[in-house]
Structures are given as C-alpha cells and as structure tokens.
C-alpha cells in the first residue's frame, strides 16, 4: 500500500514534508495525522486513509511532486541484513528510518553506520551557497517572475487625506486599523469597477461576482496572502476581526488553503515599516494590486493655504490588458473619495 504526495490545493504541484507525526514502524489507523505537508499555500495536516505499519520513504524536509511516493503502509517488516539488524538494535536506531542501499533494497551494515554517524559531511561553509527554497518561496518566485514577464502593468498614485478615518477610529472601542479602512474602501469601489475586480484571459475578460480582497502578510521568510471573502458586503469591524485572525494564522503557518484561494484583488501595506510609497507586483490572474504606504503628517495646500494633514500614498498597479488608464484612475479616485469620506462606506 503506497502513500503518495496528496494534492492539497488546486494549484499544488509539489509538497514539502515539514514533519512526520508518526514514526516508521508505528501502526496507524485511518484518520491518524501522518505528516504536516507544506504546499505552495499553507502547511497542512495529512491523514492516513487506511491502516497499516508506516514505512517512511520521503524524509522530513524533502520536496516531493504530487503523486510521488512518500511512504508505505504495509505488513511492517523492514528489509535489513542480520548484521544491520543487530547494529541498529545495539545503537538504538530505527531501521525503518535508514535509507537502504542493498541490492534488494535491504538495509546494510554501512547504511546503519552512515545513519548513526550522520549525513555525509556538508560542503564547506560558503556565503554564496544556496539555501534550499521552501515550497512557498518557490511558488512566490515562479509567480512573481511570471507576472513581471507577462503582465503589462502600469502604476497610478494618489494621495489620500486620512483625517476623517483617523477621527472615526477615535470614536470606537478597539478601532479597526488603517488597512481595514483601505480594504473596505477598495471592496466598495471594486463592486463599482468590475474590470479591476476581474481577470484577463486570452479568450476574454473574467468578471467575478464576488469581491474577495487578499491581504499580503509577511511571514517568517515568506509571503502569504489570506483572503477576505465578500469584503464589500462586510462591515469594517468584521473585516478587522477577519484580517487580524487570518494574519495571525498566516504568521503561525496554521492557515489553510481555502483561506488563501480565490482573491480577486490584493492590498499590500508596508506603512507599518514607515514606507511612504511603493509599487507592488500583480498576483496573476488578478487585474490589480494596491500598494499602501504609511499615514504621515504632511504639509498640503487646503483652500489656498498650507496646512498639515495625515496623508497616505496609495499606488495602484494594474494589468493594462483589462484595466486601462482611465478605468484605473476612476477606481483609484473612488477609493480616495471613500477614505476621505468614510461615512459613505458605512451607509
């Protein structure tokens, strides 16, 4: 009975064994969690579908293509030579965890010794030596490069006076973040500008019924984009609660693929790092992404006079195959209008 790398999400091509939760030689039952598998989107628990004695084939850290062998569930006896069995017993090593090199796949004495003495000597430390990519990092690399190579994107920028939003925040307990206001504003505007919420395809524009806003979340050495579904229909307080929970789960690598799927637009916010403005890379097949900078007091001209106001710079990157300059400008203007007059998205 073979256990192969499962397809845990639609886009999954390969997975990385983060951790085996059962050891080789252990008897497992259907439903027992065998391993944690990192897909291109999340780290998932993988359960046994039948019972048997586990024989691990793919080691922890190994990246394996979907459908390839990762373990066996069988009668349980590991093939090993008598001397290998004795040595493993004397050294307290689990035979099943040892990579066999015998001509019939049996564990030999030198296999046990190699396992006990550790992996082959690592190459000398070298600053230029490659650090292996995680599955998530590989996915990010492929998708970003593909986007830059194939999407004719262009950027538009607006300055938004956040005075009203900040005033509104002060009036409520546990106030939503600036980003929650931005998400809501985008969602409301996206409903009015369906091409920005759509996707370009060779055979035509895809226009989505749902407005699902992805929020870029920096995790340890990676980037995840959990999705707030139907953001246009949700209250800012609801969006705040959802984004907080999703961001927490993403940082703890506990997020599930369904929380990462079906975004129709993305908001990326680097304001918390003090970044004034930046441009973001469109996550295909989405049509646009909004890069949000920090809210900063700036001197602006108001009614012909200089004044100080909390300003936010938002930069929209749009796919010119589906969103043209005027479309993007109208959308961005709408977002600015909503954030400068937040009461319009509360009603």
């Amino acid at each position: 009975m073979t256990v192969t790398m499962p397809r845990l999400s639609d886009s999954m091509q390969e997975g990385t064994i983060v951790r085996w939760l059962k050891r080789s030689g252990e008897t497992v039952a259907p439903g027992d969690v065998l391993a944690e598998i990192e897909t291109d989107k999340a780290t998932m628990e993988y359960e046994a579908e039948s019972d048997g004695v586990l024989e691990i084939v793919a080691a922890e850290g190994a990246t394996v293509a979907v459908g390839e062998l990762i373990a066996r569930l069988g009668a349980g006896r590991v093939r090993a030579t008598p001397v290998a069995r004795r040595l493993a017993r004397e050294l307290g090593t689990d035979l099943a965890s040892i990579t066999p090199t015998g001509r019939r796949g049996q564990v030999m004495k030198h296999d046990v010794l190699a396992a006990v003495n550790g992996a082959p000597t690592p190459p000398p430390r070298d600053a230029a030596a490659a650090t292996p990519l995680t599955a998530t990092q590989r996915t990010i690399a492929i998708r970003m490069a593909k986007s830059r190579a194939s999407v004719p994107d262009f950027d538009l920028e607006v300055e938004i006076d956040m005075t009203a939003c900040l005033a509104l925040r002060k009036q409520v307990e546990a106030p939503p973040s600036i980003n929650d206001f931005v998400i809501k504003a985008c969602a409301v505007a996206l409903r009015e500008h369906p091409r920005v919420n759509g996707a370009f395809a060779a055979d035509g524009f895809a226009i989505h019924d749902e407005v699902n806003v992805g929020i870029a979340v920096a995790t340890d050495d990676a980037l995840l984009v959990p999705v707030i579904r139907d953001a246009d229909k949700r209250t800012i307080r609801d969006i705040a609660a959802a984004s907080r929970e999703l961001a927490k789960r993403a940082r703890e690598r506990r997020i599930e693929p369904r929380d990462l799927e079906h975004a129709t637009f993305t908001v990326s916010n680097l304001g918390m790092f003090g970044v004034t403005r930046f441009t973001a890379v469109i996550d295909e097949p989405q049509a646009a992404i909004l890069a949000v900078g920090a809210v900063q007091d700036r001197v602006i001209a108001r009614d012909g006079r200089p004044t100080v106001a909390p300003m936010l710079t938002a930069t929209l990157a749009a796919d010119h195959r589906i969103v043209y300059g005027a479309d993007a400008a109208r959308f961005l203007g709408h977002v600015r209008d909503l954030l400068q007059n937040p009461v319009r998205m509360l009603l």
């Binding site: 030579t81 001397v83 069995r85 004795r86 001509r103 030999m108």
Partner: protein, 318 residues
C-alpha cells in the same frame, strides 16, 4: 628464499618422511618405476627401495584394503590413487574401515593412513578424470581432508598428514603441479586456515586452485577482498572464518565442485548458524550440478575461475 615446484614439494615431503621414519611406505599405480603419471614421485623407489616404494595392480579397493591393513599393523602407509575419481572404488576401505577403526576398537588402535590423489578440472581429462570428490568424503567422521594451494603448504601439510595418527585424504590439484612457490615451514597444523590476503569488504573462503583464482579476481575488483585459504577442508577452521566475517560482514565461498552437497554448503551453514548477526550477505560460487564437460571451451566456462569470481563479487556487492 628459493622457489620450488608443487610436484617437487610433494616428492620432497615423501622423500623426507620416508627417510625420517622407517614405518612410512608409499605405493600406488605407476608411482615407482614410471615415477607417477604427473611426474611427482620419480626416484623415490631408487632412494628408499622396492619394499617401501612400489607399484600396484589397477585395483583401488585392494590397494586401500592393503593400506588399511598395513596401517593397523604398525606401518604408516601413503597410498596414491591416481585420479580422485577412482576413490569411488576405494570407498569401503576408507569410509567403513579406516574412518571407523579408532571408534570400533574402543580407541585401542588408530589408522595412520594417507591417501594422496590428483583432483580437479581444467586439464581436458573429461567427466571421470576431472572431479574434485571432496564432497564424497566430507560427511565422514574420522577422515581428515587436506587441500593445499602452494608448494610450501603442500610439503608441510603432507608431512603433517603422514605424521598424523588418523586417516587423511590429501588432494592435489592437477593444475597446481607445475606452479612454483616459496618453501614453507617443516610442518603445518591440520585444521588451520591461512589468511592469504587481508581485506575489509568481503571474506572469500576457498582452497587449492580457487585461492589463485581468488587472488587474481581480487586484483580486478573495487572491493577490498579478504581471502582465506582453508588448507584443510575437514576439520574446518571456523574461528578464522568467523573472525574475518566479523570484520567484513560478507562471505563468499568458492568451490570447484557441484553446488548440491558441496563442502562450501557446510562453510555457509556453519557461519550462518554461528555468526548470522555478523552477516550482510553470504553466498557460494560453485560449478553447476552437472558432469564436467570435455569440450575445452565448455570446461573453462564451467569452472569458477577468476573472471567468474570477479563477476560474482561485482554483481553481489554494490
């Protein structure tokens, strides 16, 4: 140290033992006046006289019976059976009389008898002049079986065999007679193997021509092969083999003889039984279960020579 030819080493042993001990006699077909069909024993009759070195009729059972009778009445006979294949004719005297006498006589009399016999294939002698019939006698308690590989060993072991108070079968491989080697010690103990090449990857146990083929093979394979020359097939020096296997964890036994019932089976069985937890692998390389072919090309292909040994090692160890 001077080199000596295998056949001369045998003759020297006979010559020196005949000279050392008046009770030693030597006889067989064509051994005295013609000097032996393999030119081993020429001149011994001239040196030691017709009463102690003499030719016999072609009657192996009578010869073996005479040897047994001589042995239990105070002499130390050395009998030559020209080809090992002919030992079938002498079977009763050796197996039922000589080998049992010490036990049946309640340990009152032993049988200090040596049977020398030329064995082995590769000489284009056909199916009934080429066998190595060690297996015929291997399971007979009371018989010792010596199978030397070098002139020095042959001389020392033959002297030990003659001085031993029990019946000893002394096998000489035809293809060794013309080989040369250094002189050895005066005697060698029966039942002591010799590690002729040290190695770490495989213990190769063999005897006679097999030792030379194994050495040749060891020089051509990647694996570091330890070669044990058994010198005596019975009693078996199991301790030397076990010590080697404890180091290499692999055992190959090479025997010129049929797979079924061969002495190599016993070696494998003993090591498996007593040292299984030292083994990564253990196997044999023998001839097939068939008569030895007369056709030269078939005979060569039939034998477990150096190339076959190397191929077996390479195939088995990766």
């Amino acid at each position: 140290m001077s080199e000596v030819e295998f056949r001369d080493a045998i003759k020297q042993a006979l010559d020196e033992e005949l000279a050392r001990d008046d009770s030693v006699i030597f006889f067989g077909e064509d051994v005295a006046k013609p000097g032996g069909v393999f030119a081993v024993t020429g001149g011994l009759q001239e040196t030691h006289g017709e009463s102690r070195v003499f030719d016999t009729p072609i009657a192996e059972l009578a010869m073996a019976g005479a040897a047994f009778g001589a042995a239990i009445t105070g002499l130390r006979p050395v009998l030559e059976i020209m080809f090992g294949d002919f030992l079938a004719l002498a079977m009763d005297s050796l197996v039922n009389q000589s080998a049992k006498y010490w036990y049946i006589s309640n340990e009152q009399a032993s049988v200090p008898l040596v049977v020398r016999s030329a064995v082995g294939a590769g000489g284009r002698f056909g199916a009934i002049h080429s066998q190595t019939p060690i297996a015929w006698f291997h399971g007979v308690p009371g018989l010792k079986i010596v199978a030397p590989s070098t002139p020095g060993d042959a001389k020392a072991l033959l002297k030990s065999a003659i001085r031993d108070d029990n019946p000893v079968l002394f096998f000489e491989h035809k293809r060794l007679y013309s080989t040369k080697g250094e002189e050895g010690p005066e005697t060698l103990p029966l039942g002591a193997a010799n590690v002729v090449r040290e190695g770490t990857d495989l213990t190769l146990v063999t005897a006679m021509v097999g030792v030379h083929d194994a050495l040749k093979a060891a020089g051509t394979v990647e694996q570091d092969v330890e070669i044990i020359d058994l010198r005596t097939i019975r009693p078996l020096d199991l301790e030397t083999i076990k010590a080697s296997v404890a180091k290499t964890n692999r055992l190959l036994v090479v025997e010129e003889g049929p797979s079924t019932g061969g002495w190599s089976n016993g070696v494998l069985a003993q090591v498996t039984e007593h040292a299984i937890e030292d083994l990564d692998d253990a196997w044999r390389l023998t001839t097939g279960d068939a008569p030895i072919p007369y056709s030269p090309s078939l005979e060569d292909a039939f034998l477990p020579g150096a190339e076959a040994i190397a191929a077996s090692i390479t195939e088995r160890i990766r």
